[in-house]
Symmetry: C2
Subunit: 338 residues, 2 copies
DNA sequence: TTGAAAGCGCTAACAA
DNA sequence: TTGTTAGCGCTTTCAA
């Protein structure tokens, strides 16, 4: 056929379809989109033709015409990924499933704590219709960027800016609950070891920890709370410190921290839970497979991603969306706190 | 300014620039692209203007005009990701770094072993200029798809189809070397435990294992080679079997398998390396952090991703590219084989 | 060296 | 219900 030969790859365009059917491009467009009035039979005719001839509208051209890209952007924290932890990878699976249904694709990039450059490129290039941010910082440069460009976006995690749509687990309740449980098991001297407090999630978890303590009538011993630890060395020192201060249990802010603490304790041959109990405010395969298994809070990153994507698409469609969604959690009590 | 008000977001187009400078769009285009003759001063004038007024060419429009998307697609195996292993996440980091330099973005999707559907969508929608595939299968549906559409692509890993551009680590040499080393340490009865042989990488590793044995004059005992294991249960059974057949060392095809074997051995309180030595043909944080640390082969996924991306861009540019690139490896000898 | 005009493949306002 | 036309923002041929 003539039309099929126009393009190299046997790819046909809306014009080819229109020509072959002796109707206008507009009519074809309407048959496909369902927008505007169109005769039932012409509609049928078009639909059948494009099906038989395997016509696929070009989303790029479509996008140019109505200022859409049919892409969303997924931004992962580079440092977290570098540490091999699978949390955000699992979020992506959830995002991917929803996007597929919406006929959207996912453009993946990384966020660095000191600059927003990779996202700037994508945003100024107008390559996406919306963005999913993760693990936000206080005064997050990416949030600022997106607000300036008034591009739809949601955050996986929490932020202090309450005009931002946020999808998060209920860290306060979760951490409060785990802390309480440990207290009820008789642990009094609880140590908390964590990383950067610029990460909003760490602030939230700390609040939950404090809440748990106070609900159980335990006064927080600031010497046992070691936050903003930047590297392995600092974590090891903190571990030593809280141990010598008589900590009965060490709670780690997340799986990354817990991995380091665990390494330190093992090297020093300190028995868990005999000498000290160990728990983590976030779970990962690493902790589950450890011997002894580590008590931890567990979240569902895939669900988080899915809800975030759904919410983002609502915003893109112009629907009204509530400001903050809190998802559930599980407390996994394991051998490390027996 | 008038031009700035035309668009809602203060976004200016090539027409705005042309108008403001009293020249044609063509000239502006030439100044930017460097293609075609243009006066040095006009060029300067344009460049300065677009810099001062923060003009960014719209890549979507540009793409429509010259049939490009400025996107590449990254396809990860869904099952591997589901198992929380970080290998492909790390590849992505390498791909991302290179793409950034080329001003390309990465569209991420998943591959399922039974169908190619997510990639089909992306390919027929013509949303990318090239594809990076990973962990290919024998008779891989995605490879077939890409060949049919004659879309540029490279594979991270190996495939039997030698017209496909492949970036891989030298698994044969690596596995051969590790096997040899173990043999030289005096191990005779070596067991091999692995997953699906539809994965080309597993076939390659098996070959390396056999080569290592034969170079050391050891006859392969087929009863100690347990491949195509589908699930945890099968792996545990295989572990029991080879143990009762007197295996002195168990080699695992990859980190996922090794995790399972490790779990089994620990639950049964089988001492490593006292009762049996343990090694893995692929490393991961899980194995490094284990007590005892596990001897394993180590590759650099980020490098793999980077080289793959570079190669893909060469192909997209129409350059000639060699068929297969083999990258290096490290042998990490740890306590598990002492 | 520069510009006019057509075209990439689609949508949408307006007219018929 | 359908078609004409202009336009999305860029590139490229052809002519000046």
């Amino acid at each position: 056929m003539l039309s099929e030969e126009k393009n190299n790859q046997g790819i046909i365009t809306i014009s080819d379809v229109a020509e072959a059917l002796n109707i206008s491009k507009t009519t074809v467009s309407r048959a496909i989109s369902g927008k505007g009035r169109i005769g039932a039979q012409t509609r049928e005719r078009v639909l059948r033709y494009i099906d038989e001839h395997n016509y696929k509208p070009n989303p790029i051209a479509k996008g140019l015409a109505n200022s859409r890209t049919y892409n969303i952007c997924w931004v992962m924290p580079a440092d977290y990924v570098a540490s091999d932890l699978p949390f955000f990878q699992r979020c992506l699976v959830g995002i991917s499933e929803i996007s597929l249904k919406e006929d959207y694709d996912i453009l993946t990039t990384f966020a660095y704590s000191d600059n927003a450059s990779p996202l700037i490129r994508i945003v100024t290039n107008r390559k996406v219709d919306g963005v999913i941010l993760s693990r936000t910082l206080t005064n997050d440069p990416n949030i600022r960027l997106l607000k300036e460009h008034s591009l739809p976006f949601v955050v996986i995690g929490s932020t202090e800016e309450d005009d931002v749509v946020q999808i998060d687990n209920d860290h306060i309740r979760a951490c409060c609950e785990l802390t309480s449980i440990l207290a009820m098991k008789g642990v009094r001297r609880m140590a908390l070891i964590g990383g950067s407090m610029r990460h909003v999630v760490n602030q939230t978890r700390y609040k939950g920890f404090q809440k748990g303590l106070s609900e159980q009538g335990i006064r927080e011993d600031k010497r046992l709370v070691r936050l903003d630890l930047e590297d392995e060395k600092a974590i090891e020192r903190a571990t030593d410190d809280v141990l010598s201060l008589g900590a009965e249990c060490i709670i780690c802010m997340d799986d990354g921290i817990c991995r380091s603490v665990l390494g330190k304790l093992k090297r020093d041959e300190i028995d868990i839970p005999g000498r000290v109990k160990l728990a983590s405010f976030y779970n990962s395969m690493l902790l589950e497979n450890n011997q002894p298994a580590i008590t931890a809070l567990s979240y569902d990153p895939k669900e988080l991603g899915g809800v975030a994507a759904k919410t983002l698409f609502s915003i893109i469609r112009g629907e009204n969306v509530e400001g903050k969604v809190l998802l559930g959690y599980d407390v996994l009590l394991k051998a490390s706190t027996q």
